[in-house]
Amino acid sequence: MAIAVFFVAAALAVLGGIGVVAFHQPIRSVLSLVVVMLSLSVIFLLLNAQFVFAVQIIVYAGAVMVLFLFVIALLGPARELGRGRLRFQGWLSALFVLVLLGLMWGLLQGVQYRQPDKGDLSFFGTVQSIGVGLFTTYLYPFELTSILLLVAAIGAIYLSRKRIDDV
């Protein structure tokens, strides 16, 4: 049953990805991305990552995507028109990404995965385990990340302020 859930979520994610790339209107791209994120969060849940599942929905789908929507609202809708100036871009891109995909698939063949050190799954992925990790072993990256967010916030405010004088 869970495998079926996985495949449905995976199919939705792929469809959403195609939608991101294919839609001409940016609002539709954003919404497709939301679909992708929700699907991925379901998959996270399947993988015993409860906290990450919740954070994905709250932060990613809930905050970042909303931010994108606000920007679209600010800038107004825009449609990409016609062909671009770079004639070979499309063909070359297709070539490269197909090769990339092929390589990635090829990498997967015959891979032997390492077995886990301990197989205790009862504590794995719970909020407590995340908390333990974040506040003891990985306290330093955690604090740095908070500073990073501060910097981003200040930067965003500064960059998008209204300029009175001509710059």
């Binding site: 070359l92 891109s93 990404v97 990498l107």
Partner: protein, 639 residues
């Protein structure tokens, strides 16, 4: 104070003077230059006198300059009677001339005035270094610096094109001599592994590595071949510095410099450096007989050659220049036949009367507002009596009339040449010297009568020439007195009397090894009478050029030496230089540099095409790079 310190002070005084005048002299009032410029030369003179009175002698080493394996060059000064003698001449006569030039150069502005005395002090320093040096390296240093000073002083009035050209000519010819000196030193070092005089002379008669082994080239006996080579190489140096044939063409042109310069450098001191060299190297020349004979032959030929050219000169300074060339030929003749002390005595007396002649001529030139053509003088005997008298003293000395000093020195040389036993070549050279003495009488007389006698020429630039200032007259007078009485310190020419110079220098150069007899004295007086007779006859002689115009032309063109040198050396060098510029420098070397720049630019131009400005291009390149990296990884993982 010790002799060692005194010897160093002799060198340091003019050096200090030069540095002071080069650095600050032109910003300070003129009185400063007037005191420092000549003052340091007189200070050196006093120091030299002190050494003389203390009968100093020794090889003083002050510090070791180079020490590299067996090659050791100390900074040492060799004090013996020869070096003291030369120092006395340089500082004494030099001091008089530098004092004289305080007045002669008065029309210069302050910076040029200080520059002149700075250069003069540099010259005095280098000449002193040359004669005091105790090893070959510093001898060459002094030698080259003297050449430099000559260049600076000949080209003193550098705004004049002719002066600059003359200075360059002098310097180039001196450099040829420098090369000879350096090569000679190399040969000596290779033979003896010594760079000092004491070291080389001490080892002279035995090649230390053994006969037949590497002393430059294989030879059969002793070091004679090497020493002959050294002798000829040093001869090249001496010939260049002393303006003897064939490296003589720079001396007449050097008269472009101010008259004190001509007096000091091209009469009394620098051009005598060649004579000093042969004297100092007498242990080598005593062994190298071919080179030694060459010295005498070159000297005699130059003496005659220069005297003949002097007959047709119209510029008073050029007459004196050729006269200098001729008299130095006498000195070369003397040291070339082994009569070293006679040669140095003539050096001393020539310093007296030639400096006197130049300075007196300078008085005339100064009064005539820089007019040097003798045909425009005339009648100065009445208008510039003191100068005329001094000039007469110098002229009679030059001709060799008793009792002036020139008689005693020149006739001694001729007498010794005449009476040297068992040497026919020297007797031939005596004949050459005899003829030269007669011609000397003639051209000197012509110079004297043209300038000072008769009526003033209609082309005279100045009607009533002013008398020279005291500072210009006193040195001239002093030299006139010295020229008159100086002869009496060595009167061996007439067979009786003191021989101070010979005795003094015997310890350094050895005395000549033969004595003349009565025939020698008779010949001496005969020479004097004939020469004086020609001096007098020059007043009345008709222009002889009417009989042989080709001879006149030949002499005026100085035997076409300048033209020959131009065709043989100057033009080919010019052509080679032009060829190198057009066909090597520009296409190859310049092109290499310029093309490198162009290449860089082209490369940059090509590479800048990748900066298209399109974001998506850049991302494509990223992805492409990632693909390539992945391919490489996989290939490596699988192989």
């Amino acid at each position: 104070m010790s002799n060692q310190t005194l010897a160093l002070l002799i060198l340091l005084f003019p050096a200090a003077g030069a540095i002071l005048l080069a650095g600050r002299g032109w910003r300070l009032p003129r009185i400063f230059t007037v005191i420092v410029g000549p003052g340091v030369v007189w200070a050196s003179f006093v120091a030299t006198l002190a050494l003389l009175l203390a009968k100093a002698s020794g090889d003083f080493t002050y510090w070791t300059w180079i020490k590299s394996g067996t090659f050791e060059v100390p900074f040492n000064l060799l004090i013996d009677n020869l070096s003291i003698f030369m120092c006395l001449v340089i500082t004494g006569v030099g001091g008089l001339i530098v004092t004289y030039s305080v007045g002669y150069m008065e029309h210069e502005d302050d910076p040029s005035y200080a520059r002149f005395f700075c250069y003069m002090d540099v010259f005095i320093f280098s000449m002193l270094l040359l004669v005091l040096a105790g090893n070959f390296v510093f001898l060459i240093v002094g030698w080259a610096m003297v050449g430099l000073s000559s260049y600076l002083l000949i080209g003193f009035w550098y705004q004049r094109h002719s002066a600059v050209v003359a200075a360059r000519k002098a310097f180039v010819m001196n450099v040829i001599g420098d090369v000879g000196m350096i090569l000679g030193t190399f040969v000596l070092f290779m033979t003896y592994q010594q760079a000092t005089f004491q070291g080389v002379f001490g080892r002279l008669n035995g090649c230390p590595r053994g006969v037949g082994q590497l002393c430059l080239l294989p030879f059969t006996s002793g070091d004679t071949f090497n020493l002959e080579l050294v002798g000829f190489l040093f001869l090249v140096g001496a010939v260049a510095k002393s303006a003897q044939l064939p490296l003589h063409t720079w001396l007449p042109d050097a008269m472009e410099g101010p008259t004190p310069v001509s007096a000091l450098i091209h009469a009394a001191t620098m051009v005598t450096a060649g004579v000093y060299l042969v004297g100092r190297m007498h242990p080598i020349f005593d062994v190298a007989t071919y080179a030694h004979n060459a010295v005498a032959i070159i000297g005699a030929i130059t003496a005659l050659f220069a005297a003949t050219i002097a007959i047709v000169q119209v510029d008073i300074k050029r007459v004196l220049a050729y006269s200098t060339m001729s008299q130095i030929g006498y000195m070369f003749l003397a040291v070339g036949i082994g009569a070293y002390t006679a040669g140095f005595f003539h050096l001393l007396s020539h310093a007296f009367f030639k400096a006197l002649l130049f300075m007196a001529a300078g008085n005339v030139i100064h009064a005539m507002h820089d007019e040097q053509d003798m045909r425009k003088y005339g009648g100065l005997w009445n208008q510039m009596r003191p100068t005329a008298i001094t000039f007469l003293v110098g002229s009679l000395s030059l001709v060799g009339v008793i009792p002036f000093v020139g008689f005693f020195s020149k006739e001694q040389i001729l007498g010794l040449a005449f009476s040297k036993p068992d040497d026919n070549m020297v007797h031939v050279l005596w004949g050459v010297g005899f003829a030269t003495a007669l011609i000397t009488g003639f051209y000197t007389g012509r110079m004297w009568w043209l300038s000072f006698w008769g009526k003033p020429s209609p082309q005279r630039p100045v009607e009533h020439p002013h008398a020279p200032r005291l500072v210009m007259m006193v040195p001239v007078a002093i030299l006139a007195i010295l020229a008159t009485v100086g002869g009496f310190i060595q009167t061996t020419a007439i067979g009786i009397g003191p021989s101070t110079v010979t005795d003094f220098l015997a310890s350094a150069v050895g005395s000549q090894r033969w004595e003349g007899g009565g025939a020698e004295i008779a010949v001496t007086f005969l020479t004097m009478i004939l020469a004086a007779g020609l001096f007098a006859w020059a007043l009345y002689s008709r222009p002889w050029s009417a009989y042989a115009p080709w001879a006149q032309r030949l002499l005026e063109r100085k035997y076409y030496f300048d033209e020959i040198y131009d065709w043989a050396f100057a033009r080919p060098t010019d052509w080679v230089a032009g060829f190198a510029l057009r066909d090597i420098e520009r296409p190859v070397i310049d092109a290499a540099v310029v093309d490198t720049g162009l290449l860089a630019r082209a490369g940059a131009g090509g590479l800048s095409l990748t900066q298209s400005g399109y974001f998506r291009n850049y991302v494509l390149v990223f992805v492409g790079g990632a693909v390539v990296a992945a391919v490489i990884l996989i290939v490596r993982a699988n192989s």
